[in-house]
């Protein structure tokens, strides 16, 4: 009602000077008018200035007198024009409050003579009170004396008044207000032109989405896998956690008293406790090379025990699989190979911030004739360059089944120092030749853990936050795409 009136009025008129007046003229409740103005102003249909003033309003008593006349008039009228009336009769004739107030006021104004008998003193009186009250209702000015008398009689009070002035068209003015909406829906799509949208807060993020997320460790694994594939490596089948000591250690020319074969380093198995079979002729050659050498080697000169080789364990490195692959390769006519794997390995050791009893080993190896240490360094440089580590140094190291052995260091920009990032080497002839690989075939290999680079990439300093059941699910959800191997200089 009020909205239509205001918008409609403004269509043909410049402005509305006073909301109170407008309400009165259009017979509208001023409160409603005010609310509509406020809302239209918010949506910039109109502009308006706030208006404050003090006004006089009639009290309930005042309103009654304005409508019915003052009590003193009623009192006066009840007295006969001539003669008198007993006070008791007069009291019976009139409402008690009219009698009480009327008698006082009429006496005060000297209209009547009061006693046992009441009579008029004057013949004609005017109801000035009613007149004044009506004038106030109409917003007309009154003399001070009259105002004071009305105030004293509590027929009027002053009141603060709030309204609007200078109500004009706003920038979004329309003769009819649009429909308020929070979204475009199937229902309101047809009348979209009439829709009005609430302001949207672009400083807050959008609605969180229901979505699936991949684990950062395996995201990094995928990138490593891609790098290997791009470098022409094929993946080794590493889906066998249970391995015999033979393939895990002996085949790698790792002597049986080597500390890594201690129970405090390796998980040996109770069930199945031993391997059921090994390739006997190959086992014999491995025993020989350990005990007394051969293929140009002195050997380790100790008594090699089959029982040790038979012991089952959880593989301590994926190189156990590499040894099986190379042995299989040696059985046929020689073909060069590039192999890789990324899979779980197990270590019987205390779990701490940087160590777990199981982790992922990344391993790459190349088997070919005429390979050199220069090839190994070259392939490592290419591999790690793709990981974003172009600056490498190599440290001579010892490893029972590689010679030369090289630890790989990369310059860490953040720490401003060289940090070890992996190990590498050329497999020893004592490992390769008992397998039956030709003498001039060399194998270069390297390895690193998957967890460590992942921890660096995602800023995780406790391995248990990354891998295992104590992982923070939120971390899995908020991690970005792994760009390893995608961008490198």
């Amino acid at each position: 009602m009020a909205e239509t009136a205001i918008l409609g009025f403004l269509q043909n008129n410049e402005s509305i000077p006073d909301s109170g007046q407008f309400a009165a003229e259009h017979n509208l409740d001023h409160e409603e008018v005010k609310n509509v103005i406020k809302s239209l102003q918010g949506f910039r249909y109109i502009e308006a200035k706030e208006l404050k003033r003090e006004t006089l309003v009639l009290t309930d008593e005042g309103k009654k007198y304005a409508a019915e006349g003052s009590p003193e008039i009623h009192f006066f009228s009840a007295i006969p024009e001539e003669g008198s009336i007993s006070k008791d009769d007069l009291e019976k004739k009139l409402d008690p409050s009219v009698f009480k107030i009327g008698s006082t006021q009429a006496a005060k104004k000297k209209w009547v003579a009061m006693g046992k008998q009441v009579s008029r003193k004057v013949q004609h009186v005017e109801d000035k009170v009613k007149e004044s009250l009506l004038q106030i209702q109409q917003g007309l000015e009154l003399d001070k004396e009259s105002l004071n008398s009305l105030k004293t009689r509590k027929l009027i009070v002053t009141q603060g008044w709030i309204g609007y002035s200078d109500i004009q068209k706003g920038p979004s003015y329309a003769p009819k207000r649009k429909i308020f909406a929070t979204d475009l829906t199937r229902e309101n799509l047809q009348n979209w032109k009439e829709l009005e949208f609430k302001e949207y807060n672009f400083n807050a993020k959008g609605q969180p989405l229901e979505a699936g997320h991949l684990h950062p460790l395996l995201k990094v694994r995928k990138q490593f896998k891609d790098i290997f594939c791009q470098m022409g490596f094929e993946e080794m089948p590493t889906n066998n956690f249970v391995e015999s000591s033979f393939w895990n250690f002996d085949a790698l020319f790792q002597p049986q008293q080597h500390p890594a074969r201690d129970s405090h380093d390796t998980f040996f198995l109770k069930a199945p406790s031993t391997t059921r079979e090994l390739p006997e002729d190959y086992v014999e050659r491995v025993k020989q090379v350990h005990e007394s050498g051969g293929y140009g080697s002195r050997g380790y000169n100790y008594e090699w025990k089959r029982e040790e080789a038979n012991k089952n364990l959880l593989r301590t490195h994926t190189t156990a699989v590499s040894s099986r692959m190379l042995y299989a390769l040696a059985k046929g006519p020689f073909t060069p190979k590039k192999y890789f794997s990324i899979d779980r390995v197990f270590r019987n050791e205390a779990v701490d911030r940087t160590h777990l009893a199981e982790f992922h080993q990344i391993e790459g190896l190349i088997c070919d004739r005429g390979l050199t240490l220069g090839d190994l360094i070259g392939v490592l440089q290419e591999f790690f360059r793709r990981l974003g580590m172009p600056q490498l140094r190599f440290k001579p190291a010892y490893n029972p089944y590689t010679e030369p052995s090289m630890e790989i260091f990369s310059y860490h920009e953040g720490l401003e120092k060289w940090v070890e990032i992996g190990n590498s080497g050329m497999f020893r002839p004592e490992m390769l030749q008992p397998m039956g690989l030709p003498e001039d075939v060399r194998v270069i290999a390297w390895g690193l853990s998957l967890e460590r680079p992942t921890m660096i990439l995602y800023g995780i300093d406790n391995i248990r936050d990354l891998f295992g059941h104590k992982v923070d699910l939120d971390l899995i959800k908020r991690n970005p795409i792994c760009r390893v191997g995608i961008e490198s200089s």
Binding site: W192, Y200, P259, P400, G414, L457, P480, I486
Partner: protein, 626 residues
Amino acid sequence: SLLQSPLSRSPILIASPPLRFNNPRPNLTGNNPTMPIISVGRDRLFAALGESYTNEEFEDLCLVFGIELDAVTTEKAIIRKEKHIKEESDDDEEVIYKIEIPANRYDLLCLEGLAQALRIFNKKEVIPTYKLSDIGNDNMLKMNVRSYQTCQIRPYIVCAVLRGVAFDEARYSSFIDLQDKLHQNICRHRSLVAIGTHDLDTLRGPFTYEALSPMDINFVPLKQTKSFRADELIEFYKSDLKLKKYLHIIESSPVFPVLYDSKRTVLSLPPIINGAHSAISLQTKNVFIECTATDLTKAKIVLNTMVTTFSEYCEKKFEIEPIEVTYDSGESYIYPDLAVYDMEVPVSYITDSIGVYLEVEEVTSLLNLMQLPAERSISSDNQCLVKVHVPPSRSDMLHPCDVMGKVAIAYGYNNIPTRKPASIKPLPLNELSDLLRLEIAMNVYTEVVTWILCSHKDNFALLNREDNNSAVIIGNPRSTDFEGARTRLMPGLLKTVGSNKDHPKPIKIYEIGDVTLLNETKDVGASNRHHLAALHCGATSGFELIHGLVDRIMEVMGVPFIPTGDNTGYYINRSEEPEFLTGRQASIIYKGKHVGNFGIVHPQVLNNFDITDPCSFVEIDIEALL
């Protein structure tokens, strides 16, 4: 570096502490807890090297030689750490270098051996020749082995004497430390080999090595004053933190190995404890060394390591007095066995394996740096060989590959010319795009592949847009469907929705692909941009969901949300694009650059594509995010 990779944009990347890369393990992944670490006084080491280094310089020397400076500390700091005391260090504390040694280089397990190796590597010293003192068989000390007894528990023994040793405090403690390191490593905690060292002047040969019932062995052990019977001693040591771990080696045997001199003085009860009588001290001049063992090869290596490293302090430098060990069978052996092991290695094998060209003289001089005397030799078939005389201290040299490896070290790993392998490299943009495709699909959007070719009005009029001359136009279109190339992915997605009216709502689809725009800077006048677009269509527009998808795209790209609008991440600005509904659309600003828009698709546009349900849509130029 890895740390500087694009992921470092991610807000979650924090500086990581210096983690150890899974450590020298006896395999390709690294860290071996069994890799021995020795502690040497820095100043003594530098004195022995005849040269001083900064920590960095010494670290570099280690890296080239193949050892590792693990830590720099002080004696007091070590004690403080053990006792968990926090205290300020004094400036005058002696600096200790903790150095990690390759597990097969027993000869480097003490300062003497390490310093000698580095002096030779630095060309400050020539390789010493170790020899047995020529004392004649009659004067030679004898060790008689009751082998029928000892074979039941610990069959072998090897011995030697160092004459006229000049100990001082440092040398003496180095001598003790070396035994300790050998015990921990090659001796496998004394199970394979146990070393006993004695003041020879307190003893009288010949000696016997026996294995007797514990009831029959009585002696005063080291650091004790009263005599124990061997079985009582075992009980006594069960509460000894250091010794209790060795008891299992003999405890359950009916006989215990024991060494006597000719006066039945007990030298030792290997592998547990020596007798107090023959204990060595700083004043000891003549040291009798015995190694009892279950593994003879390792016993010989241990003995050779002990005598070669400390014979430099003997009156006659590098000279060791031998002992004759005789078994019950009558077989006798002279120890230590200082025989040089000769290896003949073709030069071509060495150079071919490393991948460098070297003259034979270069090879031999490189080998000399690695303490390996070598000379030129010619094989019967005229092959050029190097003949390497492996000293008795070098049990690590098993095979010609070890010779090759040492040449490589001396040549310098970091000087070897490299060969780059053949490999392929996919385009980073497409790799990243593929990963992003998966991420969008994981947010439950279905991928569509739409045409590049479109009608001209698809690019403009249907999207409420003016033709701004940005599109490639085909001159000879077969139909109005092929008038040009798309300038945005939007029409393709809208057409897909329009063609799938009966598909249950909501429809959530996306596409990542190229658009083509006119480009003055290109030779042909046009170039592609890689865009990502996603659309939600349903009973409601899904505007907030598309907004959420924008956030997720930025999150997976490692771009932080910066509502304050600076240039370190992305923020959202309201926009006025004709294809979107006013008030429900915005620009995506990445590092200050406008990279895309999202919003509720304008109803007029929906109508143009014959879509009867509200849609929200986002399109981003992902090339701009790289």
